[in-house]
């Protein structure tokens, strides 16, 4: 009987396509409600455009337009166009019409997209909610424009081309037109906010946004230089998981185990590879094909323990302190701005770095908590703020040292914006929604160090400003007391009050010319002690990796 049940059940077992899976689980990709879905579509398009431009070393010009469809509720046409390199004709269908197709998944270098899901998922979302195909225009500087209309076959996860055409076109770039169901909002977590935050952290990009009312917003370029180009790196032994190691061995061309280690991992020399094999009781000459699981496990253990240099950090592409300051200046027009770009650190074998920008006062005049902008690989994170490691680090910082008020467990309060950029070859998101960064202690620590440096500078500025104000106020008091003093002198002596007051004011004018009101020494702003009690399991020390990243 049991066999019969199993056979019955077997009839219902079948493979599901990845596209089918995501149709059912689209909330995982940021399509959980109409407002967020519209934002996700725009975000995927803009991220792709910026990635493409940066990779091709082109200063990006990105155009975003939203058109509200008449007579259909919650229906928008989204247009995203860039001046990027364009896409060669034969790749267009798969890039837009096949999930998990892309160049970025197995590559260890910093980019906005990671998995090759984003843009095709946007196409899928559009077709699922409106039944319409996506329209793509692409030019690669060969005087042609290729135009495709396509959608995705949900069963097979393959592109279905509805029409294709090639017309004349000069220059290069890509344009995507997509009809989707969504809701357009203003204010927090809006598309406008996303674009402005993007403009701040990508000051080398020019972005134009036309909202559904036809209003046009221009976000000009702040700097004329692209960030350093990230280089692709091999994985690092520390923090690599056993499963990944096994998969890598299986995928590699058969060779000796020591040769495999030296070739496929960064910071492992031939010498070191042999040493690891000896320590793990594995013959260095044995082929990767004939390694037993136990041997692999022993080797994996030694790889974790080994004292290795940190992975190279040129896989990262920091924005840099100066461009961050420029981005904040052009978008927020603050009275004070500063930014800190830290050198790279490592979590579970992945290099990462943190950059913090702080802008205070000026046109920033909101009341209540500061405006915190979180970024992962230059992409703004608008949701799940409280779950994010960045937010935790901001809250854990004692801002009262830096002249801001802050209640326990909350963001500081004041007319200030903080941008925090987390850059890594692999961003440890807490979920597929890519909205919050996981709170590895080393990440929290690095963010806090960057915040402290930026906040310290701001604190110095604020106390200097406060003292200057006080000095001015103090000068004013000499004039403030003239009338009372002259009145008292009149009562004591019977002399003319107005005359005494005039003479006093003249005297004060004269004396103040030469008076330097208290040039007080700079109050030292204390450097906050980093809580070293946090277990540093991820900073590599336990794994024997040197703390300072070496090249």
């Amino acid at each position: 009987m049991a066999v019969n049940v199993a056979e019955e059940m077997a009839k219902t077992h079948k493979a599901i396509s990845i596209a089918e899976f995501f149709e059912k689980n689209k909330h995982l990709l940021g399509y959980e409600n109409l407002q967020k879905s519209l934002l996700t579509v725009v975000r995927e398009g803009v991220d792709n455009s910026l990635d493409a431009c940066e990779e091709a070393r082109i200063l990006p010009d990105v155009y975003v337009e939203l058109q509200k469809k008449a007579n259909i509720e919650n229906r928008y046409k989204v247009i995203i166009e860039d001046n990027g390199p364009g896409i060669v004709k034969k790749n267009i269908p798969k890039i837009f019409g096949k999930l998990l197709y892309g160049s970025k998944f197995h590559r260890l270098r910093q980019s906005r997209g990671q998995q090759g899901i984003g843009i095709s998922a946007a196409v899928l979302y559009g077709q699922l909610t409106t039944g319409k195909s996506a329209k793509i225009y692409s030019r690669i500087n060969d005087d042609k424009t290729h135009i495709y209309e396509l959608h995705i076959d949900i069963q097979t996860n393959e592109p279905v081309i509805v029409s294709e055409d090639t017309v004349y076109g000069s220059g290069h770039g890509t344009r995507l037109e997509l009809e989707v169901k969504g809701r357009y909002v203003k204010g927090r977590q809006s598309i406008y906010e996303y674009i402005q935050e993007t403009a701040i952290m990508n000051p080398f990009a020019k972005i134009v946004f036309v909202d559904p009312d036809g209003e046009k917003f221009e976000f000009p370029r702040g700097v004329d230089e692209l960030p350093k180009e990230p280089r692709e790196i091999k994985p690092h032994a520390s923090g690599i998981e056993l499963g990944t190691l096994l998969k890598m061995m299986k995928g590699a061309k058969p060779k000796t185990i020591s040769g495999f280690l030296a070739a496929e991992f960064s910071r492992i020399s031939g010498e070191k590879a042999k040493e690891l094999c000896v320590l793990a009781n594995v013959d260095p000459k044995v082929s990767t094909m004939s390694l037993t699981r136990d041997e692999a496990e022993a080797l994996h253990e030694q790889m974790q323990k080994a004292k290795l240099q940190n992975p190279p950090t040129d896989c990262l592409s920091p924005i840099g302190a100066k461009p961050i300051e420029e981005g904040l200046k052009k978008e927020l027009v603050p009275e004070f701005v500063t930014a800190v770009s830290r050198s790279a650190a490592v979590y579970t074998g992945n290099p990462f770095l943190v950059e913090v920008g702080v802008a205070y006062g000026g046109n920033i005049d909101q009341e209540g908590p500061v405006h915190l902008m979180r970024y992962a690989n230059k992409v703004p994170l608008l949701y799940e703020q409280s779950a994010c490691a960045i937010t935790k680090a901001v809250i854990q910082t004692d801002w009262r040292r830096y002249k801001l008020s802050q209640s326990a467990g909350a963001l500081p309060v004041g007319p200030m914006a903080i941008t925090i950029h987390f850059a890594s070859v692999w961003v440890p998101y807490t979920s597929e929604g890519k909205e919050a960064i996981a709170a590895y202690p080393i990440i929290i620590k690095e963010v806090k160090l960057a915040i402290q440096e930026a906040a310290r500078r701001m604190g110095v500025y604020l106390s200097r400003k406060r003292r200057a104000n006080e000095a001015e106020e103090k000068k004013a008091l000499f004039y403030r007391y003239v009338a009372e003093t002259a009145g008292a002198l009149h009562d004591l002596t019977g002399k003319d009050k107005e005359k005494i007051a005039t003479q006093m004011s003249e005297l004060i004018n004269e004396k103040l010319k030469t008076m330097i009101v208290e040039e007080v020494e700079e109050e030292p702003v204390e450097q906050e002690e980093i809580d070293n009690e946090i277990p540093d399991e991820d900073n590599g020390e336990e794994n024997g990796v040197e703390k300072e990243s070496g090249e």
């Binding site: 008091l477 000499f478 007391y481 008292a488």
Partner: protein, 370 residues
């Protein structure tokens, strides 16, 4: 410096006017306006051993208008000065120093700031004006609120015309009025053999209920802790006019000792007032360390000396007027003993113990610290 005869209001008013003219002269000469004020602090007082009084030295400090820390105080000082002049010229009834504060407190035109934020700001300025125009507060027609009460065989003609018999003041005793000058509080008769000054009201009250003053034929007075100016001035007059001994009875602790010295030699802050208010012939009757054994004070009355007590002890030890052999011995004995004793605690022996045994024995045997 202190005039022995009361000065007329007109004389003082003239000096206030001169003060104003000096400031105006500075302004006209384009100088930073200033006032020179005698420093009323420990570094400008000295102990006049011959007179037995704490006296004010001649160190002065300038108060400037064009100085960030002094501008407001400068203005406030002139406000206090002009108000006192007005009080003197208008022949108004004497005001309390709190009332003076209220007559001057208002907001400064064109700002949210007030001329005075609290009475703590105006009180010390009154003392500044006292030393600047060389006149006492009593002469400036300002009064502090006295706390003292008094009982015993004395008859006084009050400025109201009432005749006060201090044997008939009931259980509350007769109050010490704010002004106790010859013309406001005239001693008509007194048959007392001595004056007993008591630190605390509770102890005074018990003695009054027991009519101790009748049995001992004395005056009993308390300033309820640290005395105000009126109690000190009255005691000074008793010493001078009645020519009878004065005994001071306080707690056995540094604070009690100091209260005694304020009655006797004057205080640091009001050193300019000592000649009018000190009673250098006063004797310290107790409570003292030697009394512990002599009167077999129970252990339950001992209170351990705390850090603040030791600190205060160290301070008063350093005062020149506490450097007699008797006091040196007392301080040493207290430190060795390590405890203090309150005068109230004598009731532990018996309710009548203070009146019937302690005071008569101490006075009879003249057991004083000198």
């Amino acid at each position: 410096m202190v005039k022995t005869e009361a000065q007329s209001g007109a004389e003082i008013a003239a000096r206030l006017q001169a003060l104003g003219n000096e400031v105006i002269a500075d302004i006209e000469l384009k100088k930073n306006p200033s006032m020179a004020i005698l420093t009323r602090a420990l570094n400008n007082v000295y102990f006049d051993e011959d007179a037995g009084l704490i006296k004010l030295g001649d160190k002065k400090q300038n108060r400037y208008y064009i100085n960030l820390n002094q501008a407001k105080k400068f203005m406030q000082t002139l406000l206090v000065a002009k108000q006192i002049k007005w009080l003197l010229e208008q022949q108004k009834p004497a005001l309390s120093i709190r009332q003076l504060y209220y007559t001057l407190k208002h907001s400064i035109e064109g700002s949210k700031e007030e001329t005075f934020d609290s009475q703590d700001e105006s009180d010390p300025l009154i003392e500044d004006v006292e030393v600047m125009v060389d006149a006492l507060r009593e002469e400036l027609r300002l009064i502090a609120t006295p706390k003292g009460v008094l009982a015993g065989p004395m008859v006084v003609l009050d400025q109201t015309g009432d005749m006060l018999d201090f044997t008939k003041m009931g259980s509350a005793g007769g109050a010490v009025p704010p002004s106790v000058e010859e013309n406001t509080f005239e001693i008509k008769e007194c048959s007392a053999d001595f004056v007993l000054v008591i630190e605390k009201f509770a102890v005074w009250n018990l003695l009054n209920q027991q009519k101790y003053w009748k049995d001992a034929n004395c005056l009993i007075m308390t300033g309820k802790g640290q005395p105000a100016r009126a109690e000190r001035r009255l005691l000074h007059r008793m010493q001078k006019e009645l020519k009878i001994p004065i005994y001071v009875f306080t707690d056995m602790d540094p604070w009690g000792y100091y209260i005694y010295s304020v009655y006797k030699q004057g205080s640091i802050n009001l050193a300019f007032f000592s000649e009018k208010a000190g009673s250098p012939k006063a004797n310290y009757l107790g409570f003292s360390t030697s009394d512990i054994k002599q009167f077999d004070i129970p252990r339950s009355a001992y209170i351990k000396l705390k850090d603040v007590d030791y600190k205060r002890l160290k301070e008063i030890e350093a005062y020149d007027w506490f450097k007699s052999p008797g006091w040196k011995k007392e301080f040493a004995a207290m430190k060795q003993f390590g405890y203090k004793v309150e005068q109230d605690s004598l009731v532990a022996k018996s309710i009548e113990f203070t009146a019937k045994e302690y005071l008569p024995t101490k006075i009879e045997n003249k057991q004083f610290i000198a």
